[in-house]
Point group: C2
Chain length 494, copies 2
């Protein structure tokens, strides 16, 4: 009897994972090569497939199955227990949403992506505003249906980082603000600003060559994934054996593609290193956005902006761009890739100002879900907050409120996980350095030891443990933002 | 009541079309960019999605709905009537297959593609043979379950070209053989064989440029589709507004990519020009493989190998390859692209010998489904038939039995539609020339009139009319292979 139920669960997991695979592929295709002409049909397809997912998952049979298995969880093996836990969480997150609303929302966000893209290209927020209004309306309705009490925004935060609340974040961000705002000022006052050389013209073919060189060096398995380009870099895991990243090449900014590639490679390595025993399952993906971002940021910042990393890799770039980098030393390069600047674009921000960009979005999202906000006023609020936190003001919506893709996909509550990711990464690094000579590994470009540590402490578990468990077991303590602040002060207040 | 049933039918059509869209995208992805690492998971996904398709479609509810609507077909509008007709045909084609067999077969062909690719790359049939054996076993089982009597192979032929049987094809091919074998000999004896210039080195970037130049000139709408590369060129329609082709560039054969691109563009134009009133429906695709091939071949051969076409387009190529084509005239070029040669590779064959390549496959497929054939002996049978029909023998399996992808996808009965396509194309051209001065249109590269004729007589109907109806209405008579034979004799026996 129990055996049959477990088989039923595994079959459900396989089926839902297959549908999710198809949805992911649709998304991949939309954001990489699909032509604009097909947007209407793709939206219909997205809606139908979502409905199939919903109906396959949300029904009395699934509910009974999950409850029965949960009641007998002591008899289950570890993996099955984790599957039950994960699906129960998923189930009660969407079960209260009527299927029509669920699928209409999927159709809406499929269309919204194109609207956002068009709005951004035209620097015109009003193209996107009606879609954003609808998306917010749906999300508020969903919060009412599935909310667990407390601040309405908590429901959305919990989707991306289980256990995280407005209360925790208010404290976290206030701590960051207290320490980072003065740090930014100090660094900006004293740093050497001669870094124009990174904005020379850097042939894109060679940038691509460097990306393809560095990915496997970092530990990306090229037989189980690939890289291409898209407007907004992202990582997508169809399965642990097919993990794809996109990057974005700008001729006049060589560091843009380098750090996008390293960042996404960090995400991809996480996915590729999940234990293969989970197979094609909902467990076979990173557990939360915060933990995911901790891995991408760890590769991008903690490793990729370390002087030892560049001591060995800068000569490779210099060889590619003999003319452009002729008189540049590795120290010039290191200084440039760690240059702190009050800037407008989040994904181009340095690691010190980065959390300030997140705070802008956090404040706005909190506002949206606290009040009846006028969507048309959001660009002004956005610009005001940039002026307040960073002392600069966007000149148009493309470099302001339209810069990020997330809201077009309905992903409110996602941004804070970026800041959490940086903080987790610092905490992980602190723990790792007790076991490994990180600088020596970087100096020799021997990344295996680092990758194995991450795999063993974080990656291999996929979604079979909660973020807080992983953090605790890997570092020996609960979430502690002090490591991040110390990391920044050690690095920048030299 | 009737209205509700029609709504139910449309919902079913939309859902099945969405699942088919997802399946098509999986196929596209597998054959273009997916990494080998993910093949196992993709096979599982293919199986699960097929099962979902099957279970959504094949059930008593669908059966009742289709039968009820069919009984009241006089009350239905034309489009609904066509949907009912199409789905009834589809339903009884698969309803007798057990769902497990159906999905196992989908998993098998998903894996077989990789095995075929590997076998071809290694010139080693034995890698593919076990998969082919399994595929044949399944197809034979399916024929027993769903066969309508007559020759077992008829069931498969009917899948690709409704109404076509072994009896019709035996007569068709015997007619072709009688006329083409002596024609090939005559042409080979008298033609000028100095065409080596097409095997110089032709920069691939420029070949791509030419493909991208010629596609829209022919009538391909680039806002509703795109082109990329794959091992075996193909066309895939996700929707009428997202039609994709692949081509294949060979540095040492410039004509290869040109005619692949023109051929696939012919397929793509057909799909793009289906009436938009059908929306995302099973009606929105070409009606049969034979009619589809008639369109690709019409563009490739009837238009693309016409002297008037090259009078205007050869200068474009010559400008791209100044050095390589310096002393080549348009007549040299015309002679080269219409050169007749007894060769081994079907997709590189000229239009005269092409049907002989098809006859090899036709004979083998007929054998496979007539007898208990030993799959391991097929390479020898293949090679013997090439020797008999074309007077040459493959030296390895890659240029022999492994050259085509079709069998790896279980597509037996497909090949004859290529030869039917050529014959249909000649019949269509004969009819078109009564309405349009085709040569003048080509001379001026004004393809609109031609495209509109095809759209009006063939394309716009999608799958809402049977192949024989389309042929009859467009040309005023039933299928008549004499036009093809006349076309070849007129063109080659100068």
């Amino acid at each position: 009897m129990l055996k049959e139920k477990i088989e039923k669960l595994n079959k459900l997991d396989s089926k839902l994972s297959a549908i999710f695979f198809a949805q992911s592929l649709l998304e991949w295709d939309s954001e990489t090569i699909a032509s604009d002409g097909g947007v209407e049909e793709r939206a219909i397809v997205a809606g139908e497939i979502s409905e199939i997912y919903f109906n396959t998952f949300v029904n009395d049979e699934t509910k009974a199955l999950l409850e029965e298995l949960d009641e007998r969880k002591e008899e289950l093996d570890q993996v099955t227990k984790a599957i039950v836990f994960l699906y129960k969480r998923k189930f009660y997150n969407i079960a209260k949403i009527p299927v029509e609303d669920y699928t209409d929302f999927q159709v809406l966000i499929s269309k919204s992506y194109s609207a956002w893209e068009k709005a951004k290209n035209n620097k015109n927020y009003s193209i996107f505003a009606p879609f954003l209004t609808e998306i917010i309306k749906y999300q508020k309705k969903f919060i009412k249906l599935r909310g667990k009490g407390g601040h309405p925004y908590n429901t959305l935060l919990d989707d991306f980082e289980p256990g995280i609340t407005v209360e925790i974040l208010d404290e976290f961000f206030s701590e960051l603000r207290k320490n980072i705002v003065p740090l930014v000022q100090k660094v900006c006052d004293k740093q050497n600003n001669e870094i124009d050389f990174i904005n020379k013209k850097f042939d894109i073919k060679k940038q691509e060559e460097f990306s393809k060189y560095i990915m496997p060096k970092l530990g990306f398995d090229t037989s189980r994934g690939m890289m291409t380009t898209s407007a907004h870099p992202f990582t997508l895991n169809l399965s642990r054996n097919d993990v794809r990243i996109t990057t974005n090449f700008k001729e006049d900014d060589i560091t843009n593609s380098i750090f996008s590639t390293i960042h996404e490679t960090g995400h991809a390595i996480y996915e590729q290193n999940i234990d293969e025993k989970f197979g094609l399952s909902a467990l076979t993906t990173g557990v939360s956005m915060g933990i995911h971002e901790s891995q991408s940021r760890f590769y991008e910042n903690n490793l990729g902006r370390n002087i030892n990393f560049w001591n060995v890799n800068f000569p490779v770039i210099k060889k590619m761009y003999k003319k452009e980098l002729n008189d540049i030393t590795v120290n010039d390069w290191y200084r440039a890739v760690n240059h702190v600047k009050k800037s407008l674009i989040r994904i181009e921000a340095d690691e010190v100002t980065y959390p300030l960009h997140i705070m802008v979005r956090y404040e706005i999202e909190k506002m949206i879900f606290s009040d009846d906000i006028d969507v048309n006023k959001l660009p002004d609020i956005w610009n005001d907050l940039y002026e307040e936190y960073l002392g600069i003001r966007p000149e148009n919506d493309a470099e302001g409120i339209l810069q990020d893709v997330h809201w077009s996909g309905g992903a409110f509550g996602y941004f804070p996980s970026y800041a959490l990711g940086s903080a987790y990464a610092a905490q992980f690094e602190h723990a790792m350095r007790k076991d490994i000579d990180v600088d020596k590994a970087l100096k020799n470009l021997e990344m295996d030891e680092i990758k194995e540590w991450l795999k063993d402490k974080i990656h291999k578990y996929g979604s079979s443990k909660m973020p807080s468990e992983i953090l605790k077991e890997a570092t020996g303590e609960t979430f502690n933002p002090e490591y991040f602040i110390k990391y920044l002060y050690n690095k920048y207040e030299i």
